[in-house]
């Protein structure tokens, strides 16, 4: 079933200037497993597209190697790699029909025309574009979502072993985007092709991926499942890039920090910091702050004042002012938050295990 390749990137670096902006990759190493749906997530300019283009063979790295199933393909040109690529601007051929766009790679590969037609029908069905209705349309006669489907069909036509997507849905409406992401997931499961999806949208990445890599400034910050990366971010950047987070600076003296009137032993949060002295950052997701005391005795209790309430439907965002100029953002079920009025002083609870400590 899984007819994808394993992709291994070893210590890849690349520096180039593009319209006055220096794009760079610095010592990127990662492995994407056979048949995996893998996202590369990061802000614009983090090098994610550069990495994708190196995987496609459209760019050569300055240093480092790329392996498909253990075979070094670093010097193999794009047209000889077993890939399909969907570009951000789609790059569909405007002078060709849907049919001829999809059959492009098959014509190049010299397939006989009856086999090409069978395959075009198959792939259009796979992306849910009825053949009779769409095959002979021009690209300009399609909606944005339909063009996306053609781009995916074109990339999948010759059964690539690696599918590369560069923010393909970024200019579509939210609803169509979500629909296409689910479709892509289904397609990927059906075909078993190893898929690498580049995006700056954390929701897309989390919805889609088996695993993901978070990048910043040309460096991979963390690789893991969406849950691992969300719940145990490697650093403050990863934490804040994947979702809302409270970042609380504090000073530790001999393994103890003071938060308001509360004194906490760092050892409780992260074993091995028993004697640490210096600056630390505490990271806390808004949904980890609860209005009711949890069952166990591991909870920390903070006395705070409600400054602002933002109604979000099932949840309500609560902005508390704590000690000093610390602000805490919490996300509580609306039925729990409803009785609270701005100005009221309340106790909130945090499980120690939900709090992350960073010493850098």
């Amino acid at each position: 079933m899984a007819r994808g390749v394993e992709v291994r990137v070893e210590n890849v670096s690349k520096v180039f200037r593009d319209r006055g902006v220096t794009q760079a990759l610095r010592g990127v190493s990662l492995t994407v497993r056979k048949g995996e749906l893998f996202s590369i997530l990061g802000p614009s300019g983090c090098g994610k597209t550069t990495l994708l283009r190196i995987l496609a063979g459209l760019l050569k790295p300055d240093e480092g190697r790329v392996f498909f199933d253990g075979v070094d393909v670093t010097d193999v040109p794009a047209y000889e790699r077993p890939i399909g690529m969907v570009f951000q601007d789609l790059a569909l051929f405007p002078h060709l029909t849907v049919y001829r766009n999809v059959s492009f790679s098959l014509e190049i590969a010299g397939w006989p025309s009856d086999r090409i037609e069978r395959r075009v029908r198959e792939v259009l069905q796979l992306v849910r574009l009825p053949y009779e209705e769409f095959a002979h349309r021009k690209i300009s006669q399609l909606s944005g979502g339909q063009q996306q489907r053609v781009a995916i069909a074109r990339a999948l036509a010759r059964e690539p072993k690696l599918l590369l997507l560069d923010e393909p849905f970024s200019h579509l409406d939210y609803k169509i985007r979500i629909e296409l992401i689910h479709e892509l997931k289904r397609l990927q499961r059906e075909t078993g092709v190893t898929t690498i999806y580049v995006t700056h949208d954390r929701n897309e990445a989390m919805l889609l991926s088996d695993r993901l890599a978070v990048m910043k400034d040309g460096v991979v910050q963390q690789v893991g499942t969406p849950e691992e990366v969300y719940r145990s971010p490697a650093n403050a950047f990863v934490a804040s890039f994947l979702g809302e987070v409270n970042i609380i600076p504090a000073k530790a003296v001999n393994g103890l920090i003071k938060l308001g009137d509360l004194e906490i032993s760092l050892e409780r949060l992260l074993p091995g910091l028993g004697n640490y002295t210096g600056d630390v950052l505490l990271l806390l997701r808004p949904e980890s702050i609860s209005l009711t005391p949890p069952g166990g005795d591991g909870a920390l209790r903070f006395r705070v004042q409600l400054a602002e309430k933002v109604f979000l439907g099932p949840y309500t965002k609560l902005l508390f002012s704590g000690w000093g100029d610390i602000r805490l953002e919490a996300l509580a079920p609306t039925r729990e938050a409803a009785p609270l009025e701005p100005g009221s002083v309340v106790d909130v609870y945090v499980e120690a295990s939900e709090m992350r400590v960073y010493t850098d």
């Binding site: 790059a91 492009f104 014509e107 190049i108 036509a157």
Partner: protein, 259 residues
């Protein structure tokens, strides 16, 4: 309900002035020439001219020369324009190359022609057919190269990358993506050079020797040496009509490929 402005807008007047100029200097005199050519004998003159093998053979000869010139210019310009557009990355360098091809357009033609005559003499090509074709290509190169270059420039580069990721090598990318997308520029460059070289007479007259007696030369002779204006105008109109028909048919065919 849309209300029309009571007077033509100032912008329309801007266009009216050059239009009036063209009417007065081109279309009106042309009409007079047409009338002049019909005065002595009526349309039968045209039939006579068309049936005169002296004239038709010269027309055929000019047609062949125009095709040879256009084809040679195209074959020389295509790789140059391709290289310039796709393989010169530095914009400054690109404009330098482009200038090298276009500066000859700014130089006085007689100067260029005499300079070329010297070179052709040294090569032993003066007053030969080949020498004449070299002169024609030399004059029309920029008119072919520039449309080719600018249509190559308009081809979205991402499409070439897409073709590569679909397995296309560079010659396949060129034939399947670049060429069809550049067709409008190719068609217009070819049409332009063909039209101009069909009626050209200065280059053949100066560089062609005995090979230089083309349609343009013949019309020149009829007007200025034999003072036979009716036949001269009739031939000129026939040539114009023939080239318009050829270019129309060719353009329809060439651009039809794209649709």
């Amino acid at each position: 309900m849309s209300r029309r402005p009571p007077l033509p807008s100032a912008l329309a007047l801007l266009a009216a002035a050059p239009l009036a100029y063209v009417l007065a200097t081109f279309y009106l005199p042309l009409l007079i020439m047409l009338v002049e050519s019909l005065k002595p004998q009526g349309p039968s003159l045209y039939v006579r001219v068309l049936l005169n093998p002296d004239y038709t053979s010269i027309m055929a000869y000019s047609l062949v020369l125009a095709v040879v010139t256009t084809a040679s210019t195209f074959l020389i310009s295509l790789p140059a324009a391709y290289y310039l557009s796709f393989h010169v990355e530095d914009e400054v360098e690109k404009s330098r190359y482009l200038a090298a091809f276009t500066v000859p357009m700014l130089v006085n033609f007689l100067l260029k022609a005499y300079a070329l005559m010297n070179v052709l003499s040294v090569l032993g090509l003066a007053n030969t057919y080949a020498g004449m074709v070299i002169g024609m290509v030399y004059e029309y190169l920029p008119y072919m190269l520039l449309p080719l270059f600018s249509s190559f420039e308009r081809v979205e580069r991402r499409l070439l990358e897409a073709a590569q990721t679909l397995g296309a090598r560079s010659h396949q990318v060129f034939l399947r993506v670049v060429l069809p997308l550049s067709l409008p520029g190719i068609v217009s460059g070819v049409a332009l050079v063909f039209l101009m070289s069909f009626t050209e007479f200065v280059v053949p007259a100066m560089l062609g020797g005995v090979y230089g007696y083309t349609m343009g030369y013949l019309i020149w002779d009829l007007f200025l040496r034999y003072r036979n204006w009716p036949v001269g105008s009739a031939l000129a109109f026939i040539v114009t009509l023939v080239s318009l028909v050829i270019v129309y048919v060719y353009t329809r065919w060439g651009l039809g490929y794209e649709a």
